[in-house]
Symmetry: C2
Subunit: 761 residues, 2 copies
């Protein structure tokens, strides 16, 4: 009857396929007002005057609000746990609306109207005048200072910097046989979740309720409190089903503004949904990061030292800020056994759209550059890149030298590599593709990665769950962790069912989170649900089981009372004998005249553990030199994510992530106008997200080493699949053409430029 490890059907499959599943927009009641935001048409400057009188006079306009009328509290937006220590708190640099414009499209005013068309028309009637400054769009430019700085508090535009040195990097570089220095650049990309950010807010008594498509309901609650300067208990956030997030909804977006607007219209419901264009320009992006890397190797192929300088383009507001660049600097210490390591990371304010969380949280950028470097070093050594990696990988357990207890409690990276190589026929192909000529050339490439599962000890990990035993022996399960399409409801159902000896159909999970009711959990981010929230679910189920068995002792006959009891198949067992059915027990617990008490368990746990997941990607590509086009012939991700709870759901995660990684490697990039800072391709027509037509067949495999710290032997899988495809493709391109490209995406334009530079076209 155990289902952990089995591909049970998603618990929300039928709901989603039939269209019954309720998303935010499905829940909005009649007579809702509509809000629209006025975005500034400059990237840097101030509003010198704003006249809303014509907009206010328009029939159907209920309220016009400008930056003059919003609360003066600054607030942070990232989906991080709050901290009671100021040094751990996020940077609070936002207002609900602003007169100091920091990027093209910054929010200066809002209209609330009876209908959407009126709101849009009213926006056009607001007359604003601006004083404009030249925008600064690149981090290394911005670090030189700009006048004025993006935020007055940071005169050098550096939001944060951090660094470390382990061993003696300079000395080791001097002692190296070969020293390689390279520069890389990763693009600004967008999450492109199906459902654009949407929320609606209304008042209930003296409190504000916000229904939002978010990954982090409990954090949205807190930030609304901070933004409006009201006690956090006066805010209630409800999260229905959501159409994807990928980290963009791990940020507090327009919910605080929406919350504020309802307070201005007597608590009437106000809906604020974003267009796709706004989603591109006004929500969050994956940080574009520039890197300078240096590595020293011995001629035998042992890496003696490595140094990284990262310059992360934060854009106009702090959001997740330095955590992204810092995450790469941390991963720089993992996977490869290098004694002398240095990293310096800078996160820099510029006048561009804001960088935030996105699947992989800095590691797709870092992994791209780090794994390019690996191939480039191997290339320079004339070594096989796989062998070069083998020579430098940690064997088995290792731990982070700085952040305890982050460790590779199990380490399947070598097995992942072996399986990937076998699948792609690595040695044969490397051999085969050695001396190609002609217009079409093929190559195989690879990339490895490591990935932390949760956020401890960098941030707090806390999670909760609640179970209620029903009269029929089934249970209701509530978790604070949010189902965002990743399938957490299904794996939690499997986990609870296994502990309680139920079939999954008997676990009724509550998919919506409601901060008034739902156990506290910081939300769906990192790759923490199955690991952290899974731990809470398991403990909660264990507590319920304990309560059930202890109640059973009051009901069964004397002879069994002091013997060990077990719960499975909806029966209480003493040895091989069923002594009571769970349904009888449950009915008794509700309705016994002698001793009734509904059996529930409700837990909240801080979870101080973390573990490292691994994986490899192997890709075979064909480059059409004349068209400058890359075609993926074959690709496989092999993951060491510990025990796989639900192989089919896990495969879907991998497919989705690989597709995202392929887009990152080949086609996706938000383009900004260099003069105005405006997003040039902020629609799904112009932004080149791979479609089903563009995706090759996606292959995958799992190396299932059971992690002792995972509640069921599991570790991170949510984000990892998106990490390695881009460098694997780039390294395959190197294999095919001999050309090392240090910037993605490898779009036809860039490939053409690089091939031309190399004299191949």
């Amino acid at each position: 009857m155990k289902t952990v490890g089995q591909s049970i059907k998603r618990v929300d499959a039928y709901e989603k396929v039939t269209g019954r599943a309720k998303y935010t927009d499905d829940l909005i009641l009649n007579r809702c007002l509509f809000a629209k935001v006025l975005h500034a048409p400059i990237a840097n400057g101030i509003v010198t005057s704003i006249d809303t009188s014509e907009a206010e006079a328009l029939d159907g306009v209920v309220k016009v609000v400008t930056f003059h009328e919003v609360p003066t509290h600054t607030y942070p937006t990232p989906g991080h746990p709050w901290s009671v220590e100021q040094s751990h708190q996020d940077v609070a640099d936002r207002h609900l609306l602003t007169g100091r414009i920091r990027y093209y499209g910054d929010d200066i005013a809002t209209v609330v109207a009876e209908d959407e068309v009126t709101a849009s028309r009213a926006l056009k009637l607001i007359k604003a005048e601006y004083e404009e400054y030249p925008p600064v769009l690149h981090p290394r430019d911005a670090m030189k200072g700009s006048s004025p700085p993006v935020h007055a508090e940071n005169p050098d535009n550096i939001l944060a910097k951090s660094g470390y040195e382990i061993g003696h990097v300079e000395e080791a570089l001097l002692a190296s046989d070969i020293v390689l220095k390279e520069s890389f650049c990763t693009p600004m990309v967008q999450h492109c979740h199906i459902e654009a950010p949407i929320s609606y807010a209304y008042m209930e008594k003296d409190r504000i309720v916000v229904v939002s498509s978010t990954q982090i309901p409990h954090i949205v609650k807190r930030v609304i409190g901070q933004a409006l300067g009201i006690p956090w208990g006066k805010v209630r956030v409800i999260k229905p089903y959501i159409g994807g997030g990928f980290g963009n909804k791990q940020d507090v977006l327009y919910e605080p503004l929406n919350a504020f607007l309802t307070t201005l219209v007597g608590g009437r419901p106000v809906k604020l949904d974003l267009s796709r264009e706004e989603t591109f320009a006004n929500t969050r992006t994956r940080h574009s990061i520039e890197y300078d890397l240096t590595a020293g190797v011995s001629k035998e192929g042992k890496i003696l030292a490595k140094d990284m300088k990262a310059y992360s383009n934060q854009g106009a507001y702090a959001s997740h800020g330095h955590a992204i660049a810092a995450n790469g600097a941390t991963a720089w210490r993992h996977m490869y056994d290098v004694k002398n390591i240095r990293a310096d990371a800078y996160t820099v304010y510029t006048n561009t759209p804001v960088g935030g969380a996105m699947r992989g949280y800095g590691i797709p950028q870092f992994c791209f550059v780090s794994e390019c470097l690996m191939d480039d070093m191997a290339h320079k050594l004339s070594m096989d890149p796989l062998k070069f990696r083998e020579l430098n990988l940690y064997d088995g357990y290792f731990e982070d030298p700085v952040l305890t207890p982050i460790a590779a409690n199990t380490n399947g990276i070598r097995e992942c590599m072996r399986r990937g190589a076998d699948y792609i026929h690595w040695e044969e192909k490397r051999d085969l593709y050695k001396n190609q000529t002609g217009d079409k050339r093929r190559g195989v490439g690879m990339a490895l990665f490591s990935y932390k599962t949760g956020v401890w000890p960098i941030s707090l990990e806390i999670s909760g769950a609640r179970l209620i035993l029903n009269q029929d022996g089934s249970v209701q399960l509530q978790t604070g962790a949010a189902e965002i399409g990743q399938g957490s409801d299904t794996v939690f159902t499997q986990m609870a069912a296994d502990v309680l000896g139920l079939c999954p159909e008997d676990v009724h999970i509550q998919s919506f989170q409601d901060t008034d009711i739902t156990p506290f959990d910081t939300g769906a981010y990192a790759s923490r649900q199955t690991y952290i929230s899974g731990t809470a679910v398991k403990e909660c189920a264990e507590l319920l089981r304990e309560k059930i068995l202890s109640y059973a002792r009051t009901l069964i006959s004397e002879e069994y009372k002091d013997r060990e009891l077990k719960l499975s198949e909806k029966q209480i067992w003493c040895g091989k004998e069923s002594v009571l059915s769970l349904e009888e027990l449950a009915l008794e617990s509700y309705y016994s005249r002698s001793s009734s008490s509904a059996i529930t368990s409700d837990i909240s746990r801080q979870i101080k553990k973390n573990t490292i997941a691994f994986g490899a990607c192997f890709a075979e590509i064909e480059v059409d030199l004349k068209l400058s086009k890359i075609r993926i012939l074959d690709i496989i991700n092999v993951h060491d994510s510990g025990k796989i709870i639900n192989p089919q759901l896990a495969s879907m995660q991998v497919h989705g992530g690989m597709s995202m990684g392929i887009g990152y490697g080949l086609s996706e990039q938000m383009l900004l106008d260099e003069q105005t800072g405006r997003v040039l391709n902020g629609t799904l027509l112009d932004y080149k997200l791979p479609t089903a037509m563009d995706a090759p067949d996606l292959h995958l495999d799992f190396v299932e080493l059971e992690d002792p710290t995972g509640p069921f032997g599991n570790k991170a899988l949510g984000e990892p699949p998106a990490i390695p495809p881009a460098p694997a493709i780039r390294n395959a391109f190197l294999n095919a053409t001999g050309v090392a490209v240090n910037e993605i995406p490898l779009s036809p334009q860039r490939v053409f430029q690089e091939l031309r530079k190399a004299g191949l076209v």
Copy 2:
């Protein structure tokens, strides 16, 4: 800072006054289907044929269902706790639809359509033919047997009978100086809550969700499971704000049918709301009960023996059944100290609308006849009725001789009587109105009553509550008990606030109940909320306080750790020193890196206690003989309900109840056609509910003896106010005219008949 005992504003006042509060109909989303029920136009018979083809062919009709297609499970409807013992289970005599018609309007088919008009039109296209039997409308007729019986299982139509004898009634009657025998009849009346019963149902995964205007969400869940023959865990019931219930919604009405209908249309939402006419004819009524009473008194005025025969008209289905008549038989043992008591109660099926729960649950009927009897005995003894009662009342504590632990733990009845008499100037007025002539005559009358607070040990008492400490030191409170307008949300808020040292604004009560989430409680009925659910709220708050203080010990400095800590004014106190603020503690509990765990308490408690409340009504009336009209000149209810939690809310309860009691005494009665059994006045135009124009100024007083079993010294108040006005008015009429009327309402028609019989007009 304590607010128990103070008139804080209703917590939902603003919501309700502004129209923001969400009722069932406010929550229905777009694209909801509409269901309408086809009611049979005969009171007794069978459907011989039914043709739905034309209805099905109508454009917009989605589904037509007849009694042929519904599940064959019978189910009970009353809002009683279930029992694991079959002998305590309610009578299951219903199907969702029926071909055996038992009352005029019985449900034979349903139409589900895209809109309401189409559903109504389709009903008219269903062609049904009937075989009709003569209806039997009165219990004593029905007891003689009918052919066929209303239910085949009960050939004599007697649903239940019960009786007891304490002492030796016949002997004591023989030894009495005066023996009085009287017959009485009480009318069928309806609750007339503002919001007619309404529900909508849809499917979520493989489960059915029903949103309903009900007093008993957890019981509705169970009964839907029983009616559809599905596991109870497959049903979820949500209760929003409701517009009154008064016991009618302490019955499962059309929710099971609605739940069934959504399963037939692929889980699409189906709304089923009733018209006012349907509410009268097809929901529940207050039982009409006929009584034969006999009493023997000594010439000194001591009651030596009393005997009651009660014949309760159950109507067509069991619903709350015999519990109503039995409740009066129990109360017959209370309040007056009589050594020889007998009661025999019969509950009889007839072909009339169904009797169910209604505010007072059989006691308004019983109290009317019992207090008429008291006055008539006093009259016969030529004694002052107040003195006669004084002579026979228990002094202080007494307990029920049969049902332990029902007892008058405090007894303020004599003080209630004294205050009422003082208010109305009893002695002066009795003297003044002795020898009246003329067309307008005045009188004063009184009635006393006793009332059990909860249902233990007749039924199970179980209740639960859950509290969550917010980051700002405020709390969320969830209760299983349902706010139905009576103000329970407000008094629970006060209770939790007092225990936790918070102000009520810091207690955020969740008004909606959701059986998937809400702590288990059987619902809003009896007068149990403040007493039973209040006990759960208090214990839950005490547990939360304990957890808060124990967490506080981990945070405060060593010197305080072993000393007693207290929580008040959002501070943790050690003696007179504040050692920590609750907000600091709360923030720490969520976000401490060393030890965080959100603090919650979640309890479910069986509560094995009960206590008796008391009260008196004094009325002064003027009878216009020529118009046969009674005008109330003055009226007061004085209640011993223990400690009053919120005097203003309590006063509103008393006002509402008195108005209901006045309607019962003077104007309300559902009239049935004697031939067809059809309700003749089932609209608010024809049914004479007193309006604001009809109500006199209502006066009240409280005798606040603190009950040791009440969580805050409180006992029943919800239902009691409706009990005594009718007999007080009838006794005032006796005082004014010398005419003893043994049937209510004292409508002009009846008054005229009685005055004419007495030769006064």
